[in-house]
């Protein structure tokens, strides 16, 4: 593949508390703010708490999920008195870190999340972005024993990207689990912090002129999601994730494998194409009607890159 050149990174943001009860990111950002981190090497760094009101009450959100508010359509919706607290905040964050799609936007936003699912450390991207794939590969090499994976949400277009990191020129989330919401685990915090530090190191090396050789990386590409069996009248769950599926994120799920166990003890089996499950039993997804997501696994080759010299 041909060598690709990118401009240097000058402004990056690290955001935490997009969901107020996902505590690793909240504390990583708070520590950066406490130590007045605003410059790291050649990078101007902005640590930011995205949803301070939800952090204060340790809830995912006040009115609506902030991390679904950043589509082009929602960002251009005029605010009214009845606009949700999160939509208002999304407009503020778009002004601060964006505007999305413009030249003034942050070069990079890394948004920090936790999940109750047993997903290890995931880089979540909306598109194939050579910068981000190089960055992931670098972090994987630096943290060889950590379970680090890449998820491509496979969103149809940038205008439909709904997450806070989509306002940047290069945006991604780091999602680490399992951790209960409202709990701060040292092992999870340390893993996330190390990944953030390596990400910033990579950016500095990139800016300094390092050539990063082409390589390949495994990516899990979102295909579809599966809801829980529910009572047709009340919508209440009638089954729980099967013990053979629970905690087995990224292990191949084959047609005929158990996925749910009803409250009366029956097994419900998966029917469909063999795929890789993730976000298995994420607390926040019960209300979104998602028991787990399914992905195809692809190996993506990426070209050598280096900084475009002015």
């Amino acid at each position: 593949m041909d060598h690709v050149f990118f401009p240097a990174f000058s402004r990056v943001a690290i955001s935490g508390g997009t969901h107020g009860n996902e505590l690793s990111g909240v504390h990583i950002v708070r520590e950066m703010q406490k130590h007045n981190v605003n410059q790291m090497g050649s990078l101007s760094v902005c640590p930011i708490l995205s949803n301070p009101r939800s952090i204060e009450v340790c809830r995912r959100y006040i009115d609506t999920d902030l991390n679904r508010c950043f589509t082009d359509a929602l960002l251009s919706t005029p605010l009214t008195d009845s606009s949700s607290c999160e939509l208002r905040r999304a407009h503020e964050l778009n002004a601060l870190l964006g505007p999305k799609g413009s030249d003034r936007a942050m070069d990079l936003v890394c948004d920090l999340h936790n999940t109750t699912s047993n997903m290890g450390l995931c880089f979540i991207i909306d598109f194939l972005d050579w910068i981000l794939l190089h960055m992931v590969k670098y972090v994987q090499i630096k943290m060889p024993t950590a379970p680090i994976r890449v998820i491509n949400t496979n969103v149809a277009s940038k205008s439909l990207s709904y997450s806070v990191d989509s306002v940047a020129k290069h945006g991604f989330a780091i999602e680490v689990g399992p951790q209960p919401h409202g709990v701060l685990r040292a092992d999870i915090y340390n893993m996330m912090k190390e990944a953030v530090d390596h990400t910033l190191d990579w950016l500095n090396k990139f800016n300094a002129g390092t050539t990063f050789e082409g390589d390949k990386v495994e990516v899990f590409v979102w295909e579809k999601s599966v809801d829980y069996p529910r009572d047709p009248e009340t919508s209440q769950l009638t089954a729980v994730i099967h013990p053979k599926l629970q905690d087995n994120d990224f292990k191949l799920l084959q047609h005929g494998n158990p996925i749910f166990k009803t409250f009366t003890g029956e097994t419900v089996n998966y029917e469909g194409e063999d795929l890789y499950p993730f976000f298995i039993n994420e607390c926040a997804y019960y209300e979104k009607r998602i028991a787990f997501h399914l992905a195809k696994k692809e190996t993506i080759a990426f070209p050598p890159i280096s900084v475009k010299k002015e």
Partner: protein, 314 residues
């Protein structure tokens, strides 16, 4: 009415039994089990005893939150139970009065005989039974029965009769209150293994009550318990923000010995804070989400063996 005869306790039959779920609205095993049993209670019925499944905090359950105004499981104080104000009271205080009317009054002869209160914890406590009095021989015998029935699977007993740390639980309206705490499970999440464990504990508990009511005498026995000693908070700064996390060596090590000098907390920049107590303790409720606001990183306990008298229906 109980009487003692040659170290044997005689008690009336346990005919009024309740199972509470949703005392904390985001502790899903109890919410789910009680909802199931409210639709079909066959599984929890036993000869001679009517077992009532009951959602104690429906507003919190609806919002999938621990509580709406105040923690229901701390609300059953004498002051709250007699407070005037009706529906203008904080929701959980008003609700505590309702529950006390339905299942109590606390301390009276009309109160329910046994109440099981179903809870989950984010701590790695496994199956835990919570005892409020070391002199409740009926409960001690029931817990001994449950532990033996579950063996070799573990089921430990936590005794909280510490004068300052004990609290007024929803189950405390009954003559024999029993807390069931099963973890680890995140708040708002339903895990199959945790759900099944809780269901099996209730099954054995109700079997014990049925046997007791059928005149089975349970001979004297010993019960190992972990007695609550003290609450340990996170290190905090002058503004009350936590400045360290439970140390990776302590995280998930509920019920394992913590010796003086062992790592206890880890600051955000990686320094270790060591346990400085006078002797070995057994920590539990390590890193329970709901206790950050109650200034508790974990509680320490000591191991004790209690002797339970024989119990028989009078």
């Amino acid at each position: 009415m109980s009487s003692y005869n040659n170290n044997s306790v005689r008690l009336n039959a346990a005919t009024k039994v309740a199972v509470f779920g949703g005392t904390h609205g985001n502790e899903m095993s109890g919410v789910t089990l009680v909802n199931l049993w409210m639709k079909n209670s066959n599984e929890i019925q036993r000869k001679g005893v009517e077992t009532k499944p009951f959602i104690t905090n429906p507003k919190a359950v609806e919002k999938c939150t621990r509580y709406v105004d105040t923690d229901l499981n701390r609300a059953f104080t004498a002051e709250n139970l007699s407070a005037p104000g009706g529906e203008s009271l904080p929701y959980e205080v008003w609700r505590a009065q309702e529950i006390n009317n339905m299942f109590g009054p606390k301390g009276s002869p009309e109160a329910y005989d046994v109440i099981f209160d179903l809870h989950n914890t984010t701590s790695n406590m496994g199956c835990t039974l919570i005892l409020e009095s070391s002199k409740d021989h009926f409960n001690l015998q029931m817990m001994n029965y449950i532990k033996k029935a579950l063996a070799p699977a573990s089921c430990l007993v936590l005794l909280n009769e510490h004068p300052l740390l004990k609290y007024s639980t929803s189950r405390s309206v009954a003559k024999h209150p029993v807390g069931l705490e099963v973890g680890p499970q995140p708040q708002g999440v339903l895990r199959s293994n945790i759900f099944d464990s809780m269901r099996v504990i209730i099954k054995h508990a109700l079997d014990f009550i049925e046997l007791f009511n059928e005149d089975v005498e349970f001979p004297p026995c010993t019960v190992e318990v972990f007695r609550v000693l003290e609450r340990v908070d996170y290190p905090r700064d002058a503004n009350g923000n936590i400045i360290a996390m439970v140390h990776p060596n302590l995280q998930d090590c509920d019920w394992e010995p913590l010796n003086p000098g062992d790592p206890m907390f880890q600051t955000f920049d990686g320094k270790t804070i060591h346990y400085q107590g006078p002797g070995t303790v057994y920590p539990t409720f390590i890193n329970e989400a709901a206790y950050y606001e109650k200034q508790q990183a974990f509680v320490t306990t000591k191991r004790e063996t209690l002797v339970a008298s024989a119990v028989k229906k009078s």
